[in-house]
């Protein structure tokens, strides 16, 4: 079976532009997580979806960041008006309601 997939694998954008990052979780997994990995900050939690519950957005660094999960499956992380400090690898993970998180390969975002 397929694992978690993310697209694009790499994204280069100009400062001030908006970007959308996509995550396809493992089929049947009810939970989906977004994390960010950067040299200075390590691996940080951003947002968490669990079934039909309201998402836990406590890790989003600013209101320029948002995410949605349509139909309980695919998720999109949107960054508006990108800044250079947004440059990082954005990782998505999915899991059953209780259990191990499986990570995708990440999207490397570079803001120039």
């Amino acid at each position: 079976g397929a694992g978690v997939s993310q697209s694009p694998s790499n994204k280069v954008t100009e400062k001030g532009k908006d970007v959308e990052l996509r995550c396809d979780p493992i089929s049947g997994h009810t939970a989906l997580y977004w994390y960010r990995q950067s040299l200075g900050q390590g691996l940080e939690f951003l947002i968490y979806f669990q079934g039909n519950s309201a998402p836990d957005k406590s890790g989003l660094p600013s209101d320029r960041f948002s995410a949605e999960r349509t139909g309980g499956s695919v998720s999109t992380l949107t960054i508006q008006r990108t800044q250079q400090e947004d440059s990082a690898v954005y990782l998505c993970a999915s899991s059953p309601a209780v259990g191990e998180q499986y990570f995708g390969p990440g999207t490397r975002l570079t803001v120039t």
């Binding site: 997580y33 994390y35 691996l43 940080e44 836990d56 998180q101 990570f103 995708g104 390969p105 990440g106």
Partner: protein
């Protein structure tokens, strides 16, 4: 501020040598997880430790959870180049919840 402190940050050794990496916190955790991440990939779960004093073995890897459940270590015996990667410890508040990661230890095993 890292809730989980990992040390050392970087470790370079020759094939066949042993190594130990540490994960420490001032807080008590109900469980702790260890991950390995290779370049261009996401972290992969190696083990979850739950009980204070617990020791788990995974081939040449030995994981210990401190008696007070505030610290953990990962020991690799006779390291191989395939052990090269970023080793991360992490904790979650509850099963299925968000993870908080340590800063990681980057391990390089030279042939």
């Amino acid at each position: 501020t890292q809730l989980l402190e990992q040390s050392p940050q970087f470790l370079s050794i020759q094939e066949g040598e042993n190594l130990t990496v540490y994960c420490n916190s001032s807080s008590v955790f109900s469980s702790l997880q260890w991950y390995r991440q290779e370049p261009g990939e996401g972290p992969v779960l190696l083990v979850t430790v739950v009980t204070g004093g617990e020791v788990k073995k995974l081939k040449r890897l030995t994981f210990q959870f401190g008696d007070a459940r505030k610290d953990s270590s990962l020991h690799i015996t006779a390291a191989q180049p395939g052990d090269t990667g970023l080793y991360l410890c992490a904790r979650s508040k509850a099963a299925g919840n968000k993870l908080t990661f340590g800063g990681g230890t980057r391990v390089l095993v030279k042939p």
